[in-house]
Amino acid sequence: MTQDFAVRIQNMDKYYGTFHALKGINLDVAAGEKVVICGPSGSGKSTLIRCMNKLEDYQAGSINVLGTELDDNLDNIDEIRRETGMVFQHFNLFPHMTILENCTLAPMLVRKQSLAEAEAVAMEYLTKVRIPEQADKYPGQLSGGQQQRVAIARALCMKPKIMLFDEPTSALDPEMISEVLDVMVSLADEGMTMICVTHEMGFARQVADRVIFMADGEVVEEAAPEAFFNAPQADRTKTFLSQILGH
């Protein structure tokens, strides 16, 4: 399988009933690339990232992830979901399982790992997100920042080739944002392919190879962070940046 892209989206359209949510999206993400998607709320950025592992369906165009066509074939969908990790705004940890069980469940069921193997991998990643001492607690006993770091570790336990982040810091108290961003930065430094929907512009400047600005279901502008922040082209980008960076 030779390809120079991790994700290739071509002329993709998404409708909610008659509402045209995503309009003719074209996007290539190279292996190892870090892409930040931003834009005002309702612009379709979360919908776009959720289409990449088929949590949302799309109606026209094509999406190819890691050489597998993301169509209606359930085998292809399973294949893609196994290779992509996702982190959600509201963490979505399984509240009835301990932290360790959250991390070992999918590797054991999907990757057929043994309990010992899965636990060793889980502890490795929990150590990486600096939270190994919480392994036997339940999600409800952890702070928001800790839960989100567990969610990242849980996704990493599946050894994904791409990580999708859907506003990972938007539901966090301000003092907990940096502990999650630190983990994401170190993940980026290790060469993970990352697609992040986020409003953290500091993170975008530091980590992104490319920033994509969306509005009204379209990609309005895409550029390297330097160009994006210092010399935005479109008016809507300028307005958005002035609103978000103005304070």
């Binding site: 979901r81 996702m86 469940l105 999918a106 069921l109 999600p139």
Partner: protein, 356 residues
């Protein structure tokens, strides 16, 4: 006046809870007096002036002075075992104990996996059936028509729950299927069965079904009634489970999907455990109702414990003592239902730690 802190004594707390104003003091005294009056009369009737032994039967029945527990002493075997042959009633007693034991064991978390729990219940039902039905190991055959009393009540309850629960899970999953035709058809089936009275369902399965089913499918009336009852149970329980599923945030299933988990794994590990947790109080409620409504099988001629009790005072010798017999049967129901609800409360405490 400023308050200074001191640890509240028992008297402080009683005063704060029950005598905090003139109105509350009056209410406390009124209801306190009423409760004492009721308890005093009950004790007078049920304990102090009661007749306990069947030998003293002649002392009861003259009205007013006390309970005639002699009827229980004389007729308890009929109440507990119904029409089961007198010499064989030890079999019914052991079979009863076997079901209770299996019921208690399946409340122990160690048994909570598919293999252990199914082995346990297959063994439990096999023991029950061999003992009750006989015909093997030199046991005299006793046909289902003659089963009765507590063991019949427990058997119907256990069989309905064990058939009905998996069926309820399947119904609930079909009901929320993404394929509209399957979901709607299941919805119509559930609504139809729920709109029928349990009595008419039992009657249909017992009396009407033999005319339409092929011979090999008919089986004994008792098992047909159990299947009909299980279907009824499953429709109610399916809606309870569906309610528990709807309380789950969409993110739970999305997270499981994003991890690559299959439909069966998502349902078994993420959706159902949390749905049952959310639906625990109404589920216990459903079990309690199911236990008590087993008494309806009397309409198709089975003498479960309530009907057996009815038979126990149905002679001219004892027919004045119906209150005592009903009180005794009520006590038996209470023991089982109370145990069920205490177990439900234990489960709620146990799962509270993992709740958000």
């Amino acid at each position: 006046m400023t308050k200074t802190y001191r640890a509240p004594t028992l008297w402080d707390r009683i005063r704060a809870d029950y005598f905090s104003s003139r109105l509350n003091t009056a209410l406390t005294l009124t209801f306190g007096a009423f409760v004492i009056w009721v308890l005093w009369n009950l004790a007078n009737w049920g304990l102090i002036h009661a007749v306990w032994s069947a030998e003293n039967r002649d002392l009861c029945g003259h009205g007013g002075e006390g309970a005639c527990w002699a009827v229980i002493d004389a007729r308890w075997r009929l109440i507990m075992f119904g029409l089961y042959p007198f010499e064989e009633q030890w079999r019914s007693a052991i079979a009863c104990c076997a079901l209770v034991l299996v019921g208690i064991l399946s409340c122990v978390p160690w048994f909570w996996n598919a293999r252990r729990i199914s082995i346990l219940w297959v063994a439990g039902f096999a023991t029950f059936y061999v003992l009750m039905r006989g015909g093997v190991f030199g046991l005299t055959p006793v046909f289902e028509q003659n089963w009765g009393g507590l063991s019949l009540t427990l058997f119907i309850f256990a069989a309905v729950s064990l058939l009905g629960m998996p069926l309820a899970i399947v119904f609930a999953l079909l009901r929320r299927s993404e394929l509209p035709w399957i979901a709607r058809t299941m919805g119509v089936i559930i609504d139809t069965i729920r709109s029928l009275p349990l009595l008419s369902i039992m009657f249909t399965f017992a009396i009407v079904l033999p005319f339409v089913l092929p011979g090999w499918m008919i089986g004994d009336k008792l098992y047909r009634v159990i299947v009909g009852y299980a279907l009824f149970f499953a429709c109610y329980q399916a809606e309870i489970i569906r309610g528990g599923m709807q309380a789950l945030p969409a993110g739970q299933e999305e997270a499981a999907k994003a991890l690559g988990m299959s439909y069966v794994h998502r349902i078994a590990y993420i959706v159902l455990p949390q749905a049952f947790r959310n639906a625990l109080p109404p589920t216990i409620n459903q079990f309690v109702i199911t236990f008590k409504e087993t008494s309806l099988v009397v309409i198709i001629g089975f003498f479960e414990i309530l009907a057996s009790g009815h038979a126990a005072f149905g002679t001219s010798e004892w027919n004045f003592a119906h209150v005592e017999v009903y009180a005794f049967v009520a006590l038996i129901y209470f023991v089982f239902v109370f145990a069920l609800s205490r177990y439900g409360a234990y489960l709620e405490r146990r799962t509270a730690i993992a709740a958000r």
